[in-house]
Symmetry: C2
Subunit: 200 residues, 2 copies
């Protein structure tokens, strides 16, 4: 029994799959999806390209697994998200540039034609905007600063998260991603500081 334990074939297979998905996340972070080759992923787990195809019969099948992984990752339940949890998530993301890079690269590619992740991101954003709308309403009620409603603030919240990721990935020294995100939350909360132009 070369594995030295009682793991079933099925369990070992699942573990191998997970290992492959992790490798794929890395390779996509480095080269994007279109630039990632099955051979590069295979090599990273010590398989030949054809051995990898035993687990994921096409490149797209592997991408699907990667995207599923993401959904579990920062598993935003459709239910209640709190804004302070969001800030904590951004803080946490600041400690794992690899994952952030994988999905920022995928998001960027996804706007190109026929990209296999396009539908995934489109639907994900609809869902996330709805979730954020709910979180904002719970936290701040119906009226936000600037005369905004939760519906109108939600896309901004999402945009800030994504946009900051690009600036931070390109230049982590110059951009304090979690700090900037808290700044934005403060803006929505109408926190301290002055109203516009008041002081000087």
């Amino acid at each position: 029994m070369p594995y030295g334990d009682a793991m079933s074939t099925r369990a070992r297979s699942e573990e191998r799959r997970a290992e492959i998905v992790r490798a794929a996340l890395e390779v996509i972070a480095e080269r994007g999806y279109r630039g990632a080759s099955m051979a590069a992923v295979a090599e990273r787990v010590g398989l030949t390209q054809q051995g990898l195809l035993h687990y994921f019969p096409t490149k797209d099948a592997l991408l699907v697994a990667v995207l599923k992984e993401r959904d579990q990752w920062d598993a935003v339940p459709d239910s209640p998200w709190r804004i302070d949890l969001l800030a904590a998530l951004v803080e946490y993301n600041g400690m794992r540039p690899g994952i952030v890079q994988t999905f920022s690269a995928l998001l960027g590619e996804s706007v190109t034609e026929d990209h296999p992740a396009r539908e995934y991101f489109t639907e994900r954003y609809q869902r996330v905007r709805a979730t954020m709308t709910g979180a904002l309403r719970t936290e701040y009620g119906e009226r936000l600063p600037g005369g905004l409603t939760p519906e109108r603030a939600a896309p901004l919240l999402v945009a800030v998260m994504d946009g900051l990721q690009y600036q931070w990935l390109l230049d982590p020294e110059s951009v304090d991603m979690p700090g900037a995100f808290r700044d934005f939350v403060g803006l929505l909360g109408g926190a301290a500081g002055d109203a516009a132009g008041a002081g000087h």
Copy 2:
């Protein structure tokens, strides 16, 4: 004289180059940079791939020309930008999804390793954040809502612009990019509406 006019060889050459760069913008919008082939660009201007290499001897050389084009495009002079001009730019961008898609795809790819546009975007963002800081200071002075300074608001402004582009490209029906951007500007200006949680 097959061209029927007095255009010099040099001028015709320049025109051909411009034509090629336009084609490259399209192909990159459709497939990203890594996914774009020189042959696809060549075909679009009615050349063979090798004919194209006469004008741009490598794929990277063509990318450099594309990025230069961009700098002229929304030529943000290092000098004064006004916030209302920014809003107008976002409005204008809403009418040219092709260009937005080209550069959103490039930005996404640029975070991957050894991407030939990485340095370009890193430097561009440093410049743009500085420009925006100046514009915010001119417009709103030293104190912004939420206790922000122009320095801290600038990365948020940039992030909102980029992030909204992705949401809008993926789902133009659901996202009013220019409207959302104006919402954000209103937030910075401390416009109408209530302070946090005031009403309900």
